[in-house]
């Protein structure tokens, strides 16, 4: 067993007789600002997980050292990375899927004792005792995928949509009502909607920009710029500096133009 920079390195085997395999770097997950979903002492951190490894296959394997609460992936270690990884992928009717790249994995055990046991493993074997790989791949996977993703049953889909839309309408209604009655909730927050007496303006970039522009122009009209002598002097100086800069830039541009073009016809 190899240790490297605090990581335990074990091979990941997809078949019993495989000769060349990827190395997984494992250690207990520990950072200063812990994520509540990856609790301290119970989370195993795996580095360099090949793209084709699934949550299910890891769960199956690691269940031999203890009960598992969750297995999660991320593109790289970091706070928001897990959320980013799964963004959009779990929504129904979305075609987005997690990227197919080398990734990191977090295995959350129920008991902290499982970590030690897991770190003592000689290899991560993703195959059944019969030698069959627990990860579906190739034609088998594609077939399954096509059936599941591409060919939807119209009736079932319709029912699903209906259900989703009812839930959505309900959510909307609740939100709208909350905005209307403008009562403080338990924490003292008031929901402000577009309608109602205390309607705020929409928090959109375009709207905010418009407001800011208006404020700026208001301020400008009130401000006196050429009032004091020093202001005039400074603005003149500024002007000259800018003109010089512009001139230099133009010169550079022409140089660039000269460099980037060929002028030899033959």
């Amino acid at each position: 067993m190899v240790e490297l920079d605090g990581y335990t390195v074990v091979p990941l085997r997809t078949a019993p007789d495989v000769q060349h395999c990827h190395s997984i770097y494992m250690r207990e997950h520990f950072i200063r600002l812990m994520d509540p979903n990856k609790p301290k002492g119970r989370t195993l951190f795996l580095l360099n997980v090949p793209p084709y490894v699934t949550e299910k296959s890891l769960k199956t394997f690691f269940s031999q050292v203890g009960t598992i609460e969750a297995v999660e992936f991320a593109a790289k270690p970091g706070k928001e990375e897990t959320i980013k990884w799964y963004e959009g992928a779990q929504e129904p009717f979305s075609t987005t899927r997690p990227p197919f790249v080398f990734k990191v994995a977090y295995v959350v055990f129920e008991k902290s004792s499982s970590i030690g046991k897991a770190l003592a493993l000689k290899s991560i074997d993703l195959f059944k005792s019969s030698g069959e790989c627990t990860i579906k791949s190739g034609m088998e996977l594609w077939h399954e995928d096509y059936e599941k993703r591409f060919l939807l049953n119209a009736e079932k889909t319709k029912a699903q949509i209906r259900k989703y839309m009812i839930a959505y309408d309900k959510r909307e209604r609740v939100a709208a009502e909350a905005a209307k009655n403008s009562e403080a909730d338990a924490d003292g927050w008031v929901t402000v909607g577009k309608d109602g007496r205390n309607a705020g303006f929409e928090q959109k970039e375009s709207v905010i920009n418009r407001v800011e522009r208006k404020l700026a122009s208001d301020k400008k009209t009130k401000e006196l710029k050429n009032f004091y002598t020093f202001q005039i002097r400074e603005s003149k100086m500024q002007n000259i500096v800018e003109m010089r800069k512009k001139f230099e830039e133009d010169k550079r541009k022409i140089e660039l133009l000269k460099q980037s073009r060929r002028f030899k016809p033959f």
């Binding site: 190899v2 490297l4 920079d5 390195v9 997809t14 078949a15 007789d17 495989v18 000769q19 060349h20 395999c21 990827h22 190395s23 770097y25 580095l47 360099n48 090949p50 793209p51 084709y52 790289k76 270690p77 929504e91 129904p92 009717f93 979305s94 990227p99 197919f100 080398f102 030698g131 790989c133 990860i135 791949s137 190739g138 034609m139 088998e140 594609w142 096509y146 993703r149 591409f150 939807l152 119209a154 889909t157 699903q160 949509i161 989703y164 839309m165 959505y168 928090q203 959109k204 905010i208 541009k253 022409i254 660039l256 980037s260 073009r261 060929r262 002028f263 030899k264 016809p265 033959f266």
Partner: protein
């Protein structure tokens, strides 16, 4: 001052009434009126007067109120200055600056180019020095009798002259041409020097029967011989060549041995004679100077001797040379601006290759034309070089030389000019009024020069593009501008034509030089036969090669190459209608004589009965119609000149074979009502799909009771714009619950406005799906169409075609773009997903429409794209490496931009230009702009170009932008990854190679045109690994397949896959996303069955220190470092391609196997199965697949084992019949196309 005045005038005009009243102020001086008028005066000043103008007489300060108002007025004016509406002057000035800037940029580039072209002083010094030494050499020559010479006289004449008396030159040799006018042009500098024979050495009788030319050649030989003996020239390289491919004009080509110049400088020695050597008027165009008896021909005594205008001009060239040169020298000496102007024109001319050969439009004509224009006060002494070039183009385009112009200061009388013009196509008389500078230029070539000049002017006037590279930088050889090429190289065939069909008068005229005779013969015949089908028939010449002075002069002019520029509107008409038989019996007889047995009497729908030739039917596929011109040409050659089609080469549509339907696929097996022939191609099949789509669109519009109506339907697949290279056949069908289809056509629909769409992405998508299901149900209920809902859209089956209907909604796009910043503010920013969505749903429909209409105007657009796409695909480049849209847009650019005076009429010519574009464009400094509908503003283009230039890194390597995706500015169709830098470089290299191959085959006398297999098959060099996929899991392309670079032909597999499945593409995109740091993946998206892998450079696999974020795919090695293992990655590939791949081999192994067995490798398990499969087009997949499904690693190895061991002995037996079958099939196809065209 002026401005004020003008404004006052304007005020006068506009506010006449008010002015009146102000005047009245002055005169009447009434207080009441005064008050009101003053107020008006104030309002009028702020848009006009700046100060009290001198024009307006200062009004008397009539009242106190006025003086009080004055300061207020000024203040008001100051503030108003910023918002003052622009005056007429201002507008004019703005426009002027803009125009000036445009030409300034042009000027800057021209200046840079002229600097590049400037002759280095070492050359000019050398030339000066050389001329001095040559003068000294000429002075020491002595008269003498030329006896037997070591050298061969560079002239081929039947009679040999004996006893030539050399008399020494009495005049110093002098520079002529570019060297004299100071317009020498690199990279190979050719300095022309003339040596004048003294008058004494020419006899009075020498004008007749080529005696002069003989004397000239002998003189040249004598001088050459003396030069070789002269110590100063002993080291130099001597050779003879024909000037302008003219066998009567041998010149000495001397390459000086002096080290500093030997590579780039060459001296040509011309022998001339003084103008007064012969009686004046001896060589007027209507005189005969070569007697028929000279060729032992008989001539009727009664008839006047035929004029030999071209031969006369040929002699006059020598006689008038010194006068003309003097005239030009006087003009150009010391005038840098005119010299530079001529240089520009020479660059322009040479890039177009219009100056090559016997019929070439030489640069000296342009030089003389500049002088002519100056004489006629069109060009002024102070014109800049740019103005000179521009004016010359303008005048070239707008004047007509066919009726003749003259350089002589006195001009020529109209009657005389008319007389001269009768003898030549184009007339530009020199300063002596005797020699026609354009004597040898055929009319078509002259028209071509004019068209090019007109294009240059148009390009200069277009302010939206930087025309400089198009005019000066881009090489546009003549052959790339013609659509079809006729090559006659067979010697006996040419001899026969000259002997039997060339008119004697033409023979004398050209002194029995074959080339112009052939040119005239063929041009006349073909022009008459093709009439308005062609715009021009141009001679394609190559310059003759010099030969050593000791060897005999080569015979030239025994082959000819003609280029046809077709008229896209008329070239492919199937009918040649002659005169009506009863109205014009003579005309009808003549028509019948001309066309021979092809001509028939036909009755037409309008009741007329006329002679007509029918070349095909109106319903013929476009590829057949494109061969009509070929048919006509070959027929005419055979009928009139008895030239067999075997003896000529007609280059047209050879490459178009690659998008033909594969001959292995039998259309007869297809169950469809559509009329589809076996011999068809993607282009001919596209209309079927489009018609079906149109009907589907009608049905969609006609759906009852949809909650929202469908407002727009657009097909976005390439087939809808004739850009799908793989034939789309009506094969799609339902099998169980699954739809099977080789291709799925994308259709994007938009619904009417409604405010009720949810503002949550998932809910919106759910509703969209619900909508699509409803549409599907209604389609089934009303029109009995089969459908199926997928997560991507609605699949609909109609008439054997499969459509994927998607719903576009702008709110979806907004929601995808939506992001919330840290401050909780909602913003809308582009991200890869939104960009893809916007491209597919909102921009592609527009671009698709634009390209469709482009195809409607230029029918060669679609097929050119097909060729280009096939080429890209066969170079193992798929969508992930080279986006197909980029290909389409690049070709569209070729058709949209006016690179040539005429639009491209044949796809093959379009493809050659596409290769040229790829190979010659510098992608780092150029961006391709497609201004559809001209909707892009000039300012926006300038901004984009500016940003592109200053911030090049932020753009993809290949930048293509259309006017429909302005906000994405070149980042929509290509990306950093596709094409990435190596791929772009690779494509450039491939294009250059292919282009050169085409070029050499076109310009060579002996080579035949490239075979498609030479271009449309990738090389198998450079790849590290090849993963062979199971042939029965990857369907073959329906295109005519030219084979894979790695393995030999296998049994084709035309199985129809599940709709929307492209396993290879899917898995390769997965592989790329995970492993592109370590390897590059290549495959042929058109039915390729191998995946070629190239490892990244070894540095990627070197040991590196352990870092948490850079540990992908690494295993530990020594010293705590980690490294990537290729073997591990290979195991990954095997896992990902489980049950899909056959084996992994290196290209060397595959090559060796092919060599060892001389037989293609087959992967079948037993002989019997093989036998049965050979007959049926569809291989039995089930069996193999069944075994494949249950084959994990162990079985696969067994499979490999069987391949390697058990198959080997069988193969010999097995494949023998198949391999013999393949070429045979190929041949039958060729034969059939030939027979179709004949």
């Amino acid at each position: 001052m002026v401005k004020v005045k003008r404004n006052a005038v304007k005020n006068d005009a506009k506010k006449a009434a008010r002015k009146d009243s102000t005047d009245s102020v002055v005169e009447h001086d009434s207080p009441d009126e005064d008050q009101s008028d003053l107020e008006q005066a104030i309002s009028s000043t702020d848009d006009g007067f700046e100060e009290p103008s001198p024009v307006r007489k200062d009004p008397q300060p009539t009242s106190a109120s006025q003086s009080k108002l004055k300061p207020k007025k000024n203040k008001f004016k100051d503030e108003a200055k910023n918002v003052k509406p622009p005056t007429l002057e201002e507008m004019k000035e703005l426009r002027d600056t803009r125009n000036l800037f445009h030409s300034n940029l042009f000027k800057l580039q021209v200046k840079e180019m002229l600097e590049e072209l400037q002759l280095k002083t070492k050359y000019s010094e050398f030339i000066e020095h050389w001329l001095e030494s040559f003068t000294a050499f000429a002075a020491q020559l002595k008269d003498g009798l030329m006896e037997g010479s070591n050298l061969e006289v560079p002239l081929r004449l039947s009679q040999k002259a004996t006893g030539f008396m050399f008399s020494k030159p009495t005049r110093d040799p002098y520079l002529i041409g570019a060297a004299s006018t100071g317009t020498l042009l690199g990279p190979k500098i050719v300095v022309d020097v003339a040596l004048e024979m003294p008058k004494e050495s020419i006899h009075k009788e020498d004008y007749i029967n080529l005696r002069y030319d003989q004397r000239r050649a002998l003189y040249l030989t004598y001088v050459t011989e003396r030069m070789r003996e002269y110590p100063e020239y002993a080291q130099d390289l001597f050779s003879f060549n024909y000037f302008a491919n003219n066998p009567l004009k041998p010149v000495l080509e001397l390459t000086p041995a002096a080290k500093q110049v030997t590579k780039h400088l060459q001296i040509r020695l011309f022998i001339t004679a003084p103008l007064n050597s012969f009686k004046p008027g001896r060589f007027v165009p209507w005189n005969n100077n070569i007697r028929p008896a000279f060729y032992k021909d008989e001539w009727d005594e009664e008839e006047p001797l035929p004029s030999t205008q071209h031969y006369n001009a040929n002699v006059l060239f020598d006689l008038t040379l010194s006068e003309n040169q003097k005239h030009l020298d006087q003009f150009f000496k010391g005038k840098r601006n005119f010299q530079d102007g001529l240089l520009l024109l020479k660059v322009w001319l040479r890039q177009r290759e219009l100056n090559v050969g016997f019929s070439g439009f030489g640069a000296h004509i342009l030089g003389s034309f500049i002088v002519y224009l100056n004489q006629h006060r069109v060009l002024h002494q102070s014109s800049s070089s740019y103005q000179v070039a521009r004016t010359v183009w303008n005048q070239l385009a707008n004047t007509d030389w066919t009726s003749g112009i003259s350089l002589a200061p006195t001009g020529l009388k109209a009657d005389d000019m008319e007389k001269v013009a009768k003898h030549y196509d184009v007339v530009f008389l020199d300063v002596t009024n005797q020699y026609n500078l354009c004597a040898n230029i055929p009319l078509h070539l002259y028209q071509r020069v004019r068209a090019e000049a007109k294009l240059a002017v148009d390009l200069l006037n277009d302010t939206k593009i930087n025309s400089f590279p198009y005019i000066f930088m881009q090489k546009c050889p003549l052959y790339s501008r013609v659509d079809n090429i006729l090559k006659i190289t067979n010697y006996s065939c040419v001899e026969q034509m000259l002997l039997l069909h060339s008119k004697p008068r033409v023979k004398y005229d050209y002194a029995d030089y074959g080339y112009p005779q052939l040119l005239q013969l063929l041009t006349e015949l073909l022009q008459k036969g093709l009439s308005e089908r062609v715009q021009a028939i141009l001679p394609l010449e190559t310059a003759t090669v010099a030969w050593p002075v000791e060897s005999e002069a080569p015979a030239i002019g025994k082959y000819i190459q003609l280029g046809f520029i077709l008229h896209p509107d008329h070239a492919y008409e199937v009918l040649n209608k002659g005169p009506a038989a009863n109205d014009d019996p003579e005309g009808a007889a003549e028509f019948r004589r001309f066309w021979g047995d092809k001509s028939n009497l036909r009755r037409f729908q309008d009741g007329s009965i006329t002679e007509a030739v029918v070349w095909g039917t109106a319903q013929d596929a476009p590829f057949k119609k494109r061969l009509i011109v070929r048919q006509i040409v070959l027929h005419l050659l055979e009928h009139h000149l008895q030239v067999d089609s075997k003896d000529v080469q007609y280059i047209a549509s050879e490459l178009e074979q690659v998008y033909r339907l594969s001959p292995w696929f039998k259309v007869a097996h297809l169950k469809t009502k559509l009329p589809i022939e076996q011999e068809t191609d993607s282009e001919a099949l596209s209309p079927h799909v489009i018609r079906c789509y149109d009907e589907l669109a009608r049905q969609l519009h006609g759906l009852d009771e949809l909650p929202l109506e469908i407002v727009s339907i657009s097909g976005t697949s390439p087939v809808f714009r004739y850009c799908e290279p793989q034939p789309v056949l009506p094969q799609a069908r339902l099998k169980g619950d699954h739809i099977l289809a080789t291709q799925v056509q994308q259709v994007v629909i938009q619904l009417g406005q409604s405010g009720k769409w949810p503002s949550e992405l998932t809910a919106l998508r759910a509703l969209k799906t619900a909508f699509l299901i409803e549409i599907g149900e209604k389609l089934e209920a009303q029109f009995r169409l089969k459908w199926s809902i997928t997560s991507e859209g609605l699949l609909v089956l109609k008439q054997g075609f499969c459509f994927m209907i998607q719903l576009a909604h702008s709110k979806e796009l907004a929601l995808v773009k939506q992001a919330v910043t840290d401050r909780g503010v909602t913003t809308y920013v582009d991200n890869p997903e939104s960009r893809a969505l916007e491209r597919e749903h909102h921009i592609l429909p527009k671009v698709s429409g634009a390209l469709h209409s482009l195809h409607q105007t230029h029918s060669a657009f679609g097929p050119t794209v097909l060729l280009a796409k096939r080429w890209i695909a066969t170079q193992l480049l798929d969508e992930g490496l080279w986006p197909a849209m980029a290909t389409e847009l690049l070709v569209a650019h070729l058709f949209q931009q006016r690179h040539a005076p005429q639009p491209i009429a044949s796809p093959q010519a379009g493809f050659i230009r596409f290769l040229q574009l790829l190979s010659h464009t510098d992608w780092t400094s150029e961006l391709i702009l497609l201004n559809f509908n001209n909707s892009w503003q000039e300012q926006q283009i300038a901004d984009l170009e500016n940003s592109f230039r200053t911030d090049r890194q932020s753009y993809p390597h290949l930048v293509v932008a259309t006017s429909y995706d302005q906000q994405h500015a070149g980042r929509l169709w290509t990306s950093e990854q596709a094409p990435n830098r190596p791929v772009l470089g690779h494509v450039t290299k491939l294009a250059r190679h292919s282009f050169e191959m085409i070029q050499t085959s076109l310009m060579s006398k002996d080579l035949r045109f490239v075979r498609p297999a030479q271009l449309f098959r990738a090389s198998n060099e450079g790849y590290d690994l090849v993963i062979q996929l199971k042939p029965d899991l990857v369907p073959n392309t329906l295109c005519y397949d030219l084979g894979s670079p790695f393995v030999s032909f296998g049994q084709p597999n035309f199985q129809i896959p599940l709709a929307g499945v492209d396993r290879l593409a899917a898995v390769v995109s997965q592989l790329r996303s995970a492993y592109s740091d370590f390897a590059a993946f290549f495959y042929n998206p058109h039915g390729g069955k191998e995946l070629a892998i190239m490892w990244r450079p070894p540095s990627e696999f070197a040991p590196k220190p352990f870092k948490v974020n850079e540990v992908q795919a690494c295993t530990p090695c020594d010293n705590g470092k980690v490294q990537v293992n290729r073997e591990t990655l290979l195991e990954d590939f095997k896992l990902l391609l489980k049950d899909f791949y056959l084996r992994i081999a290196t290209p060397e192994e595959l090559r060796r196997e092919q060599r060892e067995h001389q037989q293609p490798k087959r992967y079948f398990n037993n002989e019997k199965e093989k036998e049965t499969e050979k007959d049926s087009p569809k291989p039995k997949k089930q069996k193999l697949q069944g075994s494949a499904k249950t084959t994990p690693k162990t079985k696969k190895q067994k499979l490999q084992g069987t391949v390697k061991t058990t198959l080997k002995p069988k193969k010999q037996k097995l494949n023998a019949p198949v391999t013999t079958k393949l070429p045979k099939q190929n041949r039958t196809i060729k034969a059939s196309t030939l027979s179709a065209s004949n």
